[in-house]
């Protein structure tokens, strides 16, 4: 997908992706010459089509998770389908764990309110969502995940329904 500023005859540069939470998507592109910005807006069906390919316009800020599309898209998944490691607690992951995920998460703490909110996410996808928020916090130098951080990550990463 490329956008051309016809007036300048310049290929436009991807700037930003927004997912307002209603199933639609907005991707903004900027002309490097005249600085004009245009937005491509997709309806829910078009957004879903892109999502079905397992790709994100503009790429992703955080690493992909195992079975990310399946876990984030299947609505009839069983609660105990996955055993995600490590378990989380308000104080962070279990100190004795040697799992790589635990080491990665070790520098990020979850507030009680954030943990409570996470517990509202279906178990089928909860562990993955937790990893994504943790990666987002690490990526942005955030030491404590709060509901506000979750809101920001959700908007930035397009974690609808998570």
């Amino acid at each position: 997908m490329k956008f051309l500023c016809v007036e300048c005859d310049q290929q436009m540069i991807f700037e930003q992706r927004q997912l307002p939470g209603d199933g639609t998507l907005a991707a903004a592109f900027r002309c490097p010459q005249c600085e004009r910005i245009v937005a491509m807006l997709t309806n829910p069906m078009e957004t879903q089509l892109v999502s079905s390919l397992g790709i994100k316009i503009g790429g992703s800020e955080v690493p992909g998770q195992p079975l990310e599309l399946v876990r984030s898209s299947v609505t009839s998944g069983r609660e105990d389908a996955f055993e995600d490691q490590p378990d989380i607690s308000p104080a962070g992951p279990r100190a004795e764990s040697t799992d790589e995920g635990a080491r990665r998460a070790a520098s990020v703490v979850w507030s009680l309110a954030a943990v409570e909110r996470l517990e509202g996410v279906p178990r089928f996808v909860r562990g993955m969502v937790k990893r994504i928020y943790t990666d987002y916090a690490k990526e942005h130098g955030i030491s404590e995940i709060t509901p506000a951080v979750m809101d920001r990550a959700r908007s930035d990463l397009g974690l609808e329904g998570m």
Binding site: K2, L4, I57, G59, A81
Partner: protein, 297 residues
């Protein structure tokens, strides 16, 4: 008025939406995950109800019982049965940093199936817009299959058996996703109706230059548990006819065996392979397949 401007191909700067790059990365991830898999074989049929899933599961079990490291990927996302037949219960697949550990069956087969992920009795349902699902559903299922290939920790395998659903589309998906598909095993029952449907699948495999490792005629007679004789069940000899028409070997003829069916129902494939007439036929089929793969390697 026509607006004059350059086209996509005229623009030489890379695609900044990074969509092409992500698709390339997806393919690389599949290839990387399967680098230690020596052979990947699809089991298919153009027709439903020919016993394809049981043959796939028993084939993988027979291979494992012969000392091979075997895996079974259930590519039937809508009607998955491989886990139950393999004796694997759905409970807590371990998710690690880079992948999901497959379940392991009592026969030692590494198994991945949508059956392990869905609520009991629930259909596969996707988070979706209200309408027009036909536009994206195929892409979604293809992506799920890609994730089963790329994100499951298959490890080093001698043989990965992929159980395809009825029809031909999933073979195309699989062929496009895999860096190398070593071949297909095609299942038919003896009837002429099956022959016609399965011939289309064989034709497709040939058109795509996928090696046809052989044809299996399933339900080739009824193995009576009372008298011990095998009696005719369906008219016809579709297995032999398809094999001859497509220049492929007839790998085996597997009788319908009530004892085998009962063992598959409880997921006891080890006993099925070891002690039933259908199992013995599948064991021989596994041996023929392993030999054919060895010749091709």
């Amino acid at each position: 008025m026509t607006i004059e401007h350059r086209t996509y191909a005229d623009l030489t700067t890379p695609d900044t939406s990074r969509m092409v790059e992500q698709v390339t990365t997806q393919h690389e991830r599949v290839a990387g995950r399967l680098v230690a898999v020596k052979a990947c074989v699809a089991v298919m049929s153009g027709k439903g109800g020919v016993g394809k899933s049981l043959t796939s599961a028993a084939l993988a079990a027979a291979a494992a019982m012969r000392g091979l490291d075997a895996g079974l990927l259930d590519a039937d996302l809508v009607g998955p049965t491989a886990a139950r037949m393999s004796g694997v219960e759905a409970s807590g697949l371990v998710v690690r940093e880079d992948g999901v550990r497959p379940a392991r069956s009592p026969a030692g087969v590494r198994v991945m199936s949508m059956e392990l992920l869905l609520e009991d009795g629930a259909p596969l349902a996707w988070k979706e817009p209200d309408s027009e699902s036909f536009v994206w559903r195929g892409a979604q299922e293809r992506s799920a299959l890609r994730e089963f290939l790329a994100d499951v920790e298959w490890g080093a395998l001698d043989l990965l058996v992929v159980d395809l659903p009825p029809g031909t589309q999933r073979l195309i998906d699989l062929h496009e996703l895999l860096p190398r598909l070593d071949g297909v095993v095609v299942i038919t029952i003896p009837s002429g109706a099956s022959e016609g449907a399965v011939a289309r699948s064989l034709r497709l495999a040939g058109d795509r230059e996928i090696p046809i490792l052989g044809v299996v005629e399933n339900m080739a007679g009824y193995a009576c548990p009372g008298c011990g004789e095998t009696q005719a069940l369906f008219p016809g000899d579709a297995g032999a006819r398809l094999a001859e028409a497509h220049g492929a070997p007839l790998l085996g003829r597997v009788p319908f065996d009530p004892e085998a069916a009962a063992l598959a129902e409880v997921g006891d494939l080890a006993t099925l392979v070891a002690r039933t007439r259908a199992g013995h036929a599948i064991g021989e089929l596994a041996a023929s397949l392993i030999e054919a793969l060895g010749r091709a390697a």
